[in-house]
Symmetry: C2
């Protein structure tokens, strides 16, 4: 059977632009050149079969999603994608599966202009761990701890679609446009284009992986503030809008796997930001306001909103 070396050669050694890479795949480690005026931004995310994606998920989608969730973290930090390493654990060598996985991974890597520089393949239960590295200038970095009283709260895209797609796959939900929601679950799109504008205005940012309320709470706790959400402003896709309002909101508020950006804009920057959004045709919606006079999240209708986000343990 082919060795690890052959496996990497065969499936993961595609032609790539050698962006700052002095030594890529094939030695004990990769060697990378970091531009003088930039910081290195590093994130790691692991996807486990049956936990982070349904076991029947197509290999192409798994390849895409493994990288997308890491790209989303870079976008949330205001960093531009540069390089990644892949630790791939497989129960068996299945050439068709590896071809499709590799194609899904490569397609997104090329689109996002991020380069595979190293990896490790091991035998075991299917699991994909990617470490992504990005570059950012200090003034563009977005933290979660820097939201301020009076900031407007925004999200990109629409919320809850991926969770609804998972419910459809699990036979817990019937839905018009079910295919759209399953696509949103399997092929999350990291928001790098939006991030490149958002970072010029935002005070704080993160990506929504555990659900809007759970992730908003991370910003609130780190920044020592509270938030008031206008539930009528939460952006919903046509698919979710076809559900009863309260059911759709449940998916939008607590559903994971959206990988949309959640960020805060100072009130005095709102007009300039909205003009940028309009000029660049970015999909962003204001959904509430930061308020330091209380902690936690309430709705503008006075409801206390408690996260029921998904926790792996």
């Amino acid at each position: 059977m082919p060795s690890e070396f052959d496996l990497i050669e065969r499936y993961f050694n595609w032609q790539q632009p050698a962006k700052g890479v002095a030594q890529g795949v094939g030695d004990d480690a990769a060697i990378l050149n970091i531009p003088n005026n930039q910081q290195l931004v590093v994130t790691t995310d692991t996807l486990i079969s049956g936990v982070h994606f349904p076991e029947q998920t197509p290999a192409h989608a798994i390849g895409h999603k493994s990288l997308a969730v890491n790209l989303s973290d870079l976008a949330a930090m205001g960093a531009d994608p540069a390089w990644f390493t892949l630790a791939l654990t497989l129960p068996e060598q299945n050439p068709q599966w590896l071809n499709e996985f590799s194609a899904g991974l490569r397609s997104l890597a090329e689109k996002a202009n991020i380069q595979l520089v190293g990896g490790d393949t091991t035998k075991g239960a299917l699991s994909i761990s990617i470490t992504a590295m990005g570059l950012a200038t200090a003034q563009n970095i977005l933290l979660r701890s820097t939201a301020k009283d009076g900031d407007l709260i925004y999200v990109t895209g629409t919320l809850g679609d991926a969770a609804a797609g998972l419910a459809v796959i699990q036979n817990k939900l019937r839905l018009n446009h079910a295919e759209y929601c399953i696509e949103r679950l399997n092929y999350p799109q990291s928001r790098h284009h939006e991030s490149s504008y958002i970072r010029q205005y935002a005070t704080a940012c993160l990506d929504i992986s555990d659900g809007l309320l759970a992730d908003l709470n991370h910003i609130l706790k780190a920044s020592g503030v509270g938030a008031c959400l206008d539930l009528d402003s939460i952006p919903l896709s046509p698919a979710l809008s076809s559900l009863q309002k309260e059911q759709a909101l449940q998916y939008a508020l607590n559903g994971g796997d959206d990988y949309e950006l959640l960020f805060t804009i100072p009130a005095d920057q709102q007009q300039a930001f909205e003009q940028e959004v309009s000029r660049r045709v970015l999909v962003c919606h204001a959904i509430g306001k930061i308020d330091e006079s209380f902690s936690g999240i309430t709705s503008s209708q006075g409801r206390v909103l408690v996260p029921q986000g998904y926790l792996h343990f």
Copy 2:
């Protein structure tokens, strides 16, 4: 049950020197400052329970070994350890196991002066994937592709102990000093101290993880040369020396998990290097010579040596 965030806070948020870290654990990604005159060296290695360590291995040793195998790659490149990320997949949250794992990891991290800057915890079959980052100046980098005709071949330490330790655990071998060999299997010591001197003289280097012959072949193929080994010069520990010579050589030539450095020194540098070895009390032995007149490996007694190194698939 505690969330991923609590888990990281509780077990992996120990006090560390903030070496070039603008943002550590706790945001979407870590932010790192790279010195202007240095290159970033990045490596990833995954350890799977039952594949890379026996299932009954103590958690403390697993914590140590997960980092050690990555540190060994950095040493093999001539890079100084700087930062690492941890992707930890656990079947359950066992506080005692986590405490011991964390202690083993931390102890080596502090000794090697490498800082944990991010991670991800997921639920599944026990697996540990670490991405280690080091710093190196371009002139100190050691590749595997640059061995030259006439170079002397050296190794650090002794070979075959870890493989003999594994054979003892698997009841395939009885041995004097069995505990020593099991310790070598569970607590590999990466060769950073040696690397800091070796990189001033060596033409090529890698670390021995698959076995001496298999890993020597990686140097030979990458450099387009052959090698002649003096089997009587292969360094053996007292434990392995107590075996029959041929059996001991089997472990030393083909046993994995040694994590010793294998490197080449130009003949005209040998005297200066040997003086350095003697002055620094480094444990290094010359075991053969690079020869471009043939490919593959022979012994000085004329035997053709074919790797039987361990492959995961």
